[in-house]
Amino acid sequence: MTKIVTDVICPFCGTLCDDLEVAATDDGKKIIEVYNACVIGTEKFLHSQASDRVTRPRLMQADGSYKEISYDEAAEYTAQMMAKAKKPLMYGWSSTNCEAQSMGHEIAELAKACVDNTAAVCHGTTLIAVQDIGLPTCTLGEVKNRADRIVFWGCNPAHAHPRHMSRYSIFPRGFFTGKGHKNRKLVVVDPRPTDTAKMADIHLQVTQGQDYELLNAFRVALKGEWLPDVVAGIPKEKIYEAADILKSGRFGIIFFGMGVTQSLGKNHNIDEAIAVTKDLNDYTKFSIMPMRGHYNVTGSGEVMAWQFGYPYSVDLTRGFARYNPGDTSSIDLLSRGDVDAMFTIGSDPGAHFPFNCVKKISELPSVCIDPHLTPTSGVSKLHVPVAFNGVEAGGSCYRMDNVPIDCRKVVEPPEGMLTDEQFLIMVRDRLKKMKGVA
């Protein structure tokens, strides 16, 4: 027999779909089928059921082999590492819940660590731009109910956020958008002819690395001023046409992704994109939203901000919070050799950081807390597998539009496995004792 768990939240991408249904065995131990999710989300749930899953912490030995140890021993090792280190780096946080993040911040405060999340290599540039110029944005339901102009700039939701277009941005019929996609105009800006671009009314195939120029040209075109014949590979007629489409809408939004945040220009691209949005508000209503990747990277930024004051790249080594991306951000800290211990949770720098940084991680005392086997767990001295958050543990998470949604526990974790938060509490308690804090 099976039971169906409804209103399940998908712990994969920033779209944070919350309408999944999961069929589980009656004893609540095994997932049988996942409904409503995209292929990636489905795989995330089913992957947790793998029979060869690692269920106990493993400590790397001198010869490179692993020795299974208990959670107690793992917590002791982690606490010792944090206590001894002068400047440990605690990186990740984006694939765990806000309660675990909170607990991690307590540890960071005790150990005077650097705390950083995956925004450092993703939408950190967006945050810098927001600190420069602000951010007119909205919730995704506003897009569903009102938007008739949609721009995807440097992002490809068809593959990266598969249900975004059907749930929020292009196809849904909302309150003022009863005709669904028929009364929405879609503009896609991407140097590649992606599957998202194929659906566009206008695809602007911008020359790679020239997004800033094109955004700037948009601001000129909105004002009806003179443009050269071609900007960033786009003929001016097409720019004027696209600008008119945006201006003539009732409610529009720009979604943007890593194509603009991490290409040439970085935060300056986003500065300009936000300026375009502000300018458009002189004619109609316009918003802009980053397409956040991990399902709870937004939450990590929120928790860090309300506890320390900054959304990422926080350095607590002086006993109070400092923030200076480029100096206190993970890649810079690692590549300069500034940190003497590496603590990774809920992300995979081993797969995404430059090779010299990954090499540094492998040389440092290091702990990786992750349910999966990843390149990071492979280079870390200690791998602590934990329950899958959002599948085997609940907890608060934030969608890309900052809306908090409480993840659900669907099935029990394998016997004896701890959640992120439970393990971090063990580490904190030990660290408090070592530091002599009541």
Partner: protein, 568 residues
Amino acid sequence: MSEYVIKNGHVFDPVQGIKGDKAEVAIKDGKIVEKAGSGAKVIDAKGMTVMAGAVEIHAHIAGPKVNLGRIYRPEDKLFTCTPTKGMERMGSGNSIPSTFKTGYEYAKMGYTTCMEAAMPPMFSRHVHEEIRDTPIIDEGAFPVFGNNWFVMEYLKNHEVENTAAYIAWMLRATKGYAVKVVNPGGTEAWAWGLNCLTVNDPVPYFDITPAEIVKGLIEANEYLGLPHSMHIHPNNLGNPGCYETTLDTLKLAEGMKANNKFGRESVMHLTHTQFHSYGGTNWGDFESKAKEVTDYVNKNRNITIDTGNVTLDETTTMTADGPFEHHLTGLNHLKWANVDVELETAAGVVPYIYSPNISVCAIQWAIGLEIPLMMKDPMRCYITTDHPNAGPFTRYPRVFKWLMSTKAREEQINAFKHKDKVLTQTSIGSLDREISLYELAQMTRAGPAKSLGLGNMCGGLKPGMDADVAIYNFNPEKPVANPDDIEKAFTRCAFTFKSGVEVVRNGEIVSTGHKRTLWVNAKIKDNPQVVRDINEKFLKYYSMTQANYESLGHHFVPNPFAIEVDAT
């Protein structure tokens, strides 16, 4: 729990009518009692002022827009970060302090109960996570209703009962405390880039006016008998000449009577009145209309107000009045953040510098002080800075100084670049009233507690009430040599007790207490229509499911205190 007896202090308690007499205050099991046992710890408050813990009726201290302010203003942290210290976690921020710092600062100033003034219902879980991380102080949060689709659809047909049923559902789902209204109708219009500037401007599509929304919400509020009245930020905030809209809004409460079991007499609370008391037609002939507004409020006993004092600081404005923040960024060209929230509300954030060298800012400062000085009944006028909009809450002691000392006011007026303009456009120069400590206790304790329906629980020192006590190093028998002494004394308590726990000693945190989240659980008759409407809206228009909407569970509200209301 420990017992305490506070001896020899000068007690100011409007609830019992004690005006500075030396009286004993005894604490046992978290409550004020007639007499403590012989083993009680004695606190010698000789030469000190003893009051109940202060009650904050309106501040933006938790939630999405506050945190957006923190995220997008790293500059607000400059020189404000504090290290871990004893019990205290790290802190940061001036106008938008981190949650921990917020709790500590309030407690150190003797505040023990605070209300978060605008909670976007869809973000209630975020608000509660921040409240959870704000130590010591009891907190409640007001969900916003003034631009809610359900409310507008029901009130278009004057369906008060359905509106009330919806409010009851919403308070339960969001663990909310009261009915907040911000720019009624105007914020919905802002979703199309428009606004409602008078109480009669129709809301686009919904075909209802702000006046109908306000009246209907007052009626629904009294139908339920909620502890607090409808709490309003009217239309047309911050514009020259806006006082007329304010008076139009206040008139909507005429003839309405409070209905509740909590001792509340008001039906409307007008918040940050300073921002709504402007005359003139432009920034050049900008002038105070504090007299017109306070004259009206003085005459109508069913209205309470708070001040919204400008403190002449660099700060961060944030409000659910989305169109206003867009207007403001057009004025000062500082960075603009905006969030529109589906079916419910919106919010905007813009930094602002209230410079003493700008005539408008100086006039705003004067208006904020005129209002409490012109109000005849201190039990109906409460001191706020609409934190952080007119200034950070940490400046309350400075506002007290200005109110309690004409000398301090004169010093400030003389320091203004456009002193003459301040004197011609306002009547601050001719007001010689000085607020007494008793009146201060009314304006910061007994008054707001009564308006919030908490008059039997906090804001006073009567036996049976919660043992929230603030002891200030301020001797009321000695003449004030220097007005700055007032500010200094009220900045750091000698002692603060929260629910009978000593949380502050000599201005330092000694316990993080047992913080509670206050919310209102209103029971109503079954209303299948409203249940069906809610289901339908979630199925069709919300971007999340109804089952995931509620703030449920220990990680959101670890220590709830529900105030029960029965409207069946």
